[in-house]
Subunit: 475 residues, 2 copies
């Protein structure tokens, strides 16, 4: 039985065996208290060792980080903060931990813990984060399953580039600097494992569309990659993305799906991760105490999550957003670093103004200029904009990007030629517009950005177990 | 509303809109029947067009593969095989499909459909397979979530080689044949994206163990890779693997987990994919008609699945299995291609004999010779065997491989040195044996092999949307 379940038992003096890692050991004259955690919950269980009950030899070996099994009696706790505790009868030591164990019970910086990512699971903060991450992932699958979507595993190794941009990692079985060559000196990829040049996918969308054009409602949830040298708190070279794609959905349906989906998974975390969210909320309040008043959050973590779930996202077009920005104080006072004007790619400062200052809630922007969006987005009748939608979150920025897709073969071909993609590489994608094309829409949600929002953490490296970033692939 | 739901309605003459792809159109003198499918179910809905109701111009454009929306009245069906049908009032054509549409209503070979993997979702067979694949994937998450496991995303790009063997794909952002060099002419990986040599993971186990040594119960479900030139019906270069890892579990607990897990997900498919499984069962019976009697299955697909769920897996040691094989008819008659003897790596023919001839049920073999198993498996007291377990399935062979892990630091180091792994590359793995080590166990299940078993398909390329195999990375 796990500690989570033992803590729910009533203390009818039954025998229990508690297994876990020692968080702290405190000794008094005739009594020793050991706090044990097994990761099933943020709560520890206290084992009480009365004088002489356990051999001194064994007790000496028990210190922070050790793994032990305590057999004893579950009794009502005399101390505050816990209903039950274990009166130890025997203790088995599975593994000791000497004083070099890095997770000693004191404050560690997040940077230090990142270097010890193999052990940071054993802290309260990271235990909470990764339990919440699990709950969110499960909620994703449950939401789509309950709504009739099919989970589609799109390929990780790909010969196509979904976005027509985005730097990709090469995948090969050639020895570096020893790839076979063609007569003209170029690399002979026909001799590589797949017989062609291959990379790691940047998105499962194009293949997802193939599924949607037959199964109607699909979603992906898998790793995606960017070989971009972005050393920020918002970017990873390897991250998990969720991409639903739905036949017969137009932009409006797509917005409704995105909003109900995000609200569902956040509500699921609120309902299922109470202890962990409360811990992170307290942690955040502590952290903010060192900040000046005007930089502190207006809402606590749980207030922020409940606010998102309870309020409608603001929906407006890109053109309307530009108007608001042009009339804004920072624009008039020339406080934006990047000048505002129709056609620009909105910068973080603009998105933050809209979300955090103007509307003070999540915002869905639609109908962006076609020149700043991907080739596959459905063109509006005005010839200038496309049926794109970005969902912007406070503190996070873009959490979802999506669109209705261009389903007209000729319009799609024109756009593919305009942006300079070789249509031969996308023959299979074009086929879906040739044979039984249909309106369809979808979006991508960066899973780590969602976890970042829900946990209130500040660095994306802290919400994925083993982050991959420039110059870092440890563990 | 989707066709799956419309088919459940009672025909009270309500108005419905049915959207889907045309499977067939049959015309008679005064009436046209259109069969529509939207992938939500294997069942089609029939649209009936009475004489003169729909313009001839529109009707002419409707053929197999076209995507349409039929608005009309839901009525009780006069024909057999369906309870309800739609009396068409208007039809909107989303996309036509001319006679070059490859999925015409006739028999296609699986090889042909593999080349058209972007459209094969629109066939009954592949619709059924990918709906079942979804149900199995959801059942995996549901099983582990309901049992207190946390889903852990282990890294895809890795600098370590979990098995100490297995050919890996290289991941790099270097141009091929243009990687920077050190003074001695070797490749200067410090200038590569991650500042070191990196590959695609062959297993998330080692990182999974790090999670289990803090959160107690974790599982992974992600893509894994093998750069092996295996052109068989059982191997993929990219496949999805599920790897639970549990602190405080010994080999016996690990076997219990594996057996209950596999039974749960198969039962889930039986309960949730009735129509699709019945279709595949009929398909299989048809396929087997062309085979000689003695090559046909003894059980239908559903009988086979129910048999696995209802019977205990046979558990025995490798040593006991070798004894059985030595005494077997094929061994005595020298019919095995590979000779049997203690210490050999069991070949497919041996595993099949045990599973299909001797026990006629799934088998769990344990305590293999340490020399044929990975370095991380817990050594038995005899010094010869390790606490490994393989689950063997009829028709599939090994579906699960796992073990109790070596939790003793000294024994693990000795083994690492014996097999020639550089311990510096695994410092983080070794740390978990230094600080609070604990008994723990886990296993890996190849997801596609499970889907293969449940769908009764014969080639692993047919149970993943876009297979990656030697010389093939299309789509």
């Amino acid at each position: 039985m796990q500690i989570k379940d033992i803590l729910q038992l009533s203390p009818e003096s039954q025998s229990v065996v508690v297994k876990g890692w020692v968080r702290t050991k405190r000794g008094q004259a005739n009594i020793v208290f050991i706090n044990l955690n097994d990761g099933s919950t943020i709560k520890n269980i206290q084992a009480v060792v009365e004088d002489g009950k356990i051999e001194e030899e064994i007790l000496k070996k028990i210190s922070t980080g050790a793994c032990i099994a305590v057999s004893g009696t579950l009794v009502a706790s005399a101390g505050s903060g816990q209903a039950v505790e274990v009166l130890a009868q025997t203790i088995e030591i599975y593994g000791t931990a000497d004083e070099t164990f890095p997770m000693q019970p004191k404050k560690h910086s997040l940077e230090f813990l990142r270097e010890k990512a193999h052990l940071r699971f054993r802290t309260n903060t990271f235990g909470a984060i990764f339990r919440i991450r699990h709950a969110l992932a499960f909620a994703v699958h449950k939401f789509y399953n309950d709504n009739g979507f099919f989970y589609l595993h799109t390929p990780i190794i790909t010969a196509s580039d979904a976005e027509g941009a985005g730097e990709m990692f090469r995948v090969s079985s050639f020895e570096p600097n020893a790839a076979p060559k063609n007569e003209d000196g170029s690399v002979d990829f026909s001799q590589d494992f797949f017989g062609r040049e291959t990379s790691l996918t940047v998105s499962g969308q194009l293949e997802g569309e193939l599924g949607a054009m037959a199964l109607s409602k699909i979603y992906t949830f898998g790793p995606t990659f960017r070989a971009e040298n972005s050393n920020t708190t918002r970017h990873l070279a390897e991250f998990w993305m969720i991409e639903p794609e739905v036949a017969f959905y137009e932009l409006e349906d797509n917005m409704n799906l995105a909003e109900s989906f995000v609200k569902y998974v956040i509500q699921y975390a609120i309902d299922n991760c109470k202890d962990d969210l409360e811990f992170l909320q307290t942690r955040l309040l502590e952290e903010e105490k060192s900040k000046p008043q005007n930089e502190r959050s207006e809402q606590t973590l749980l207030e922020k999550l409940n606010f998102v779930v309870e309020n409608s996202f603001e929906r407006l077009t890109y053109t309307e957003a530009i108007d608001i920005l042009l009339k804004s104080k920072p624009a008039q006072k020339k406080q934006f670093q990047y000048e505002v004007g129709w056609g620009i790619d909105l910068q973080s400062e603009h998105e933050r103004y809209l979300v955090e200052k103007h509307f003070k809630k999540p915002v869905i922007l639609t109908n962006y200029p076609k020149d700043i969006k991907a080739f596959y987005m459905k063109q509006d009748a005005d010839g200038k904009t496309v049926r794109a939608m970005d969902v912007l979150f406070p503190g996070i920025g873009e959490i979802i990007g999506g669109s209705q897709r261009e389903d007209n073969y000729e319009k799609l071909m024109t756009r593919i030629n305009e942006v300079g993609i070789d249509p031969d590489n996308l023959w299979w994608y074009l086929d879906t517009r040739k044979f039984g094309s249909a309106p369809h829409s979808g979006f991508g949600l960066g899973f780590e950005r969602l976890v970042l929002f829900v946990t209130g953490m500040g660095n994306i490296r802290d919400v994925i177990p083993f982050p991959r970033t420039p110059k870092n692939a440890e563990f």
